[in-house]
Structures are given as C-alpha cells and as structure tokens.
C-alpha cells in the first residue's frame, strides 16, 4: 500500500535529490505520497501519532523523552552550517558576549551555537531567532544583525554577492545529521520490503550524486514537484548540488553507524539528549538493517 512521507519543508532545490530518489524507488515499485509540513516538529508529531509513516528530521529528543518507538533509517544531510558575520569578527572567540541570530530555539542552529560555546569557550550574548536561512541573510545584509549561522547554499550565495562585507568564521567539522529519515519501528518491520526499496534508491542517488552532481537536474521529473518550480530556481540546481557535494553535505554511505555515533555525541553536547553519550544505545535510535542490506 501507499506509504505516507512527511516532509519538513515545502519542496524546493534542497529536496531535489530526495525526489530523484523517490522517482527511482517508484520505478522499482514503491507507492508513495508526501505532505509538506511547516517545520520538523510537526513532521515528527505526525509520525508519532501514526498519521504519517516516514518523516524528515532528527527526532532524538522525542525518542528519548516520550520513549516513542521511532527509529532513524537514513541520514539525508549533515549539519553543515556556517557562522557568517560582518567584518567586525574574524574568529569564533570574537563572538563572546555578542548577540547572534539563529533559526529557532532548540533547533539545529541552536545546538550548533551550544557546541560552539563549549568548544570555543565563549558565551553568546542575546540569541534571537529568525526561521529560515534566507531570512537571516536578509537581516544580515540589511544590517539588522552582525552574526548568524546559515546553511551552505545561503553561505555561498551571500559570499558570492557580498563577499567584501562578510566573513565566514572557520569552524570545526560536524558529522551529525541535520535531516534524517525515520519511521515507527513497528511500521518498518511490517513493511521491510518497501523500506528496502526506498533506502536502496536513496543510497544509489546519494552515491551517483557524489560522482556527478548534475544527475539531479537531469533526472528531475519535469512534471514532478521539483520540475514545476519556477525556472529561476531550477536553473540553480546544478550549482547547488556542486557546492553541496564539495561541502560534504551528503554522505554517500547514508550515515550509518558513523553518523549515529556522531549524532549521539553531538546532540548530547547540544543538550537535546540527556546522559553520557557512551551509555546511550544505538539500537534505541537507529535501525540499521535496510541500510546495511543496501550497502551490500
């Protein structure tokens, strides 16, 4: 039967690779429908309450706090975010006590900020929240903020257009997940076959993309949700994926154990998971079987 996928944002360039994978899965007999939610929390809630089968996001807090039997099966993208500031600041330490603009309280950028504070030994000043990297770029360009954390494509965009005015502060590597695919454990086990087709398709696309980023624009179905985007956006697909692959946004191995370990460490550090990361059990968060099967 049809599987129901909960997206955490409206389909745009960032989801093009995902939709290519969906098309491949469909060719192999996967029947699906998708719904876009306005944020990750809603997608998680929808999966938790059984109204959706598979969701987008990193539901670590929900998994630990409400003991929800959901498991991650594939890492879609890594937390590749970049501190961008005006020329006033040159390194992370300069931001001690300075106000910063983030996406949302408790979200990915918030956790990056937490970890930066720990690793650089600083404390940010007031944190204000503006959802959407694009909106934070506008705030930065308009001079309403001096420091923010934004995603890869917006970082590239702002540096291309206003490279003379802003700095990208050097930062440590992050391997943790930004977006991952997760589902109810019972549901996964009851639908092993469909899940397998899906994960196979994702893995193949992620691998092909790392070889040649332009396959995304070439394989995009012109009648699908991505193909229907305005030409202004479609024209930038190749550039986007070239940057993304260069920046290591997409793991050609779908995350797996490495990502799970990184996540547990990262989200503990960021305050979303409680307890010592070493004591956490991978099986409580990830379900590796489909990915392992796909790798072989």
């Amino acid at each position: 039967d049809t599987i129901r996928i909960a997206l955490a944002e409206t389909p745009s360039d960032e989801l093009a690779a995902f939709f290519v994978a969906l098309d491949r899965a469909k060719a192999n007999g996967l029947d699906y429908e998708w719904t876009a939610f306005s944020d990750e929390e809603l997608a998680i809630q929808a999966v938790l309450s059984g109204q959706m089968d598979i969701g987008f996001g990193t539901p670590y807090a929900a998994m630990q706090r409400s003991k929800a039997p959901v498991r991650i099966i594939f890492q879609l993208s890594k937390l590749k975010f970049f501190p961008v500031t005006t020329k006033k600041y040159e390194k992370l330490e300069d931001l001690d006590g300075q106000p910063i603009l983030l996406h949302s309280r408790g979200g990915g950028t918030d956790s990056i900020a937490n970890v930066i504070e720990q690793k650089a030994g600083i404390t940010f000043g007031e944190r204000s929240y503006v959802p959407g990297s694009a909106n934070r770029v506008v705030a930065l360009v308009a001079g309403q903020a001096d420091a923010t954390i934004i995603d890869l494509s917006n970082k590239n965009k702002i540096m291309r257009e206003h490279g003379d005015k802003f700095n990208v502060l050097p930062m440590f590597e992050v391997e943790a997940s930004d977006e991952a695919l997760f589902a109810n454990l019972d549901w996964i086990q009851a639908n092993e076959e469909d899940v397998q087709i899906f994960v196979n398709a994702l893995l193949s696309v992620w691998r092909d993309m790392n070889e040649d980023p332009t396959i995304i624009s070439r394989e995009t179905n012109p009648d699908g949700p991505i193909g229907q985007l305005p030409p202004e956006i479609l024209g930038e697909l190749d550039g986007f994926y070239k940057d993304a692959v260069e920046g290591g946004l997409y793991d050609p191995n779908g995350g797996g154990e490495k990502a799970a370990m990184a996540d547990m460490e990262w989200y503990s550090q960021a305050g979303q998971l409680e307890g010592d990361p070493a004591s956490l059990n991978i099986e409580d968060f990830w379900y590796m079987k489909p990915l392992e099967a796909a790798m072989n």
């Binding site: 929390e41 807090a61 308009a142």
Partner: protein, 252 residues
C-alpha cells in the same frame, strides 16, 4: 443571573471534561489532559516564565492595538465623513481586510526586520481594516434626524462629531474594535510563530520542540484566556461609556 451563571459553569464543565477525557484516552501522544495542562500553567505562573513571556507578547500587541484603535477610528471617521476620502481609501481597506496577511509576513520581515516594528506592523495590519471599515460604515449611517436635531440646536461640526456621530456609531465601532482586537491577538501570535519566536509564541514552539505538550497547551490556554479577558474589559468600557446604548434583549 444565578441560572445563567450555573449554565456557564455547566458548559465549562462539559467542555473541560471532554478535554480531560480526550487527553486520557489519549487521542494522541501529543495531547495532554486538562489537569496536566493546568498544572503546567500553574508551574509556569509561579516560576515567572509566564509573566516574562507576556511582557514580550503584550508589547507589540498593546502598541499595535492602540495604534490601530486611534488611527483606525480617526481614519474611519474621515472616510465616513468625506466622500473623497471614501473613494480614495476605502478600497484599500477592503483589499486589506480581504487579504491573507499571514502570507505577507515574510515580506514584512525583509522590510522591517525582526524587531518590534515588524510585529507591531503585523498586529496593525490585522486589526486596522475592520476597525476602519466598521467606523466608516457607522459614521455614514448616522441617522440624519439626529444630525438635523443637533444643527437645529446650534451644534458646530465638532459638537456633531463628538456628541452625536461618535456616540451613535459607538456600538458598531466597538464591535469593530472587538473584531480588531481579536485579529490583533491573531497577528501577535502569528508574528511570534512566523517572525521570531518570543514571548508566548516561543513557549508554544519551544515546548513543542522538546515535546513538553502540557506546557504548550497551557500557553495556548493562557493566551485565549487573556484575549477573552481583554474583550470583556472592552465590553465593560463600552457599557460605562455609552450606557443607554445597551437595550437588552427584545425577547425579554
């Protein structure tokens, strides 16, 4: 009086009881019971988070509603009195009233940033049109016999506006204010959900992201309670100001 109070209590018991039962079933992981929510509300009240949050939320709300009320009534008066103004401005407000301004919020952020200004703007845009249009309509429909009476007893233009047109229009102006204030509340929450999560909007989104649903529902409950309280105050104000305009039920 006691009968209507008893009925109010009864209907409250029914609704809250239904909530409690739905929470106990539970209809969803994310749906807490009534008592859990009230406990969370009490906790938030006693540790002060709620007051701090309302300090944030009320700022744009109060400023925005005050601006909308004063400016809206003034503009409405002007539109109602001058056909030229009516021609020029009322279509704008009709469009504004019909416009789904939620969609405009991203633009406002770009234009006015993420601070108070944007939020005040959202509140004004939501609250103003209905206040303006109601005021204008009521002013236009002031019974001409009262205006004539005023003139025959030598009222000047200011007298006519202050002592006849405004009191006569007051029930409709107040119902516009009521709808406007409620739209303003919608705007304030919307701006906290869509622009920057501060105040009560922040409690809602944050509790949701950490799956603390009782707190989330407590915050929602408190903002609704506040809105209702605010509107009851407005109604009291109307009763005090224009006592004779309240004529009771026809059926009684």
């Amino acid at each position: 009086m006691t009968r209507s109070l008893a009925l109010k209590l009864l209907s409250a018991v029914i609704v809250f009881g239904a909530w409690e039962i739905a929470g106990r079933i539970p209809v969803s992981y994310a749906f807490p019971t009534f008592f859990d929510s009230m406990r969370a509300l009490a906790a938030m009240t006693f540790d002060g988070t709620l007051f701090a949050a309302y300090g944030e939320t009320l700022k744009p709300l109060v400023i925005g509603v005050a601006i909308s009320a004063v400016l809206g009534i003034a503009l409405g008066l002007w539109i109602g009195l001058s056909s030229w103004f009516d021609w020029l401005f009322s279509p704008i407000f009709v469009v504004m009233q019909a416009a789904p301004l939620a969609a405009l919020i991203p633009l406002l952020v770009m234009a006015y940033g993420i601070g108070l200004t944007s939020k005040v703007f959202v509140v004004c845009i939501m609250a103003m049109p209905v206040i303006v249009l109601n005021t204008a309509g009521a002013v236009r429909n002031t019974p001409s016999n009262l205006k004539e009476m005023g003139r025959s007893f030598l009222a000047n233009d200011t007298d006519i506006i202050l002592k006849i047109i405004l009191p006569d229009a007051s029930p409709i102006i107040f119902s516009g204010l009521r709808l406007g204030v409620s739209a303003g509340f919608i705007g304030a929450i919307l701006s906290e959900l869509k622009i920057t999560p501060t105040g009560v909007g922040d409690i809602i989104t944050f509790s949701r992201s950490i799956a603390d649903y009782p707190s989330m529902y407590a915050a929602i409950f408190s903002i609704i309670a506040l809105a209702v309280l605010f509107l009851n105050l407005l109604e009291k104000l109307e009763t005090v100001l224009f006592e004779g305009n309240i004529r009771g039920y026809v059926s009684d």
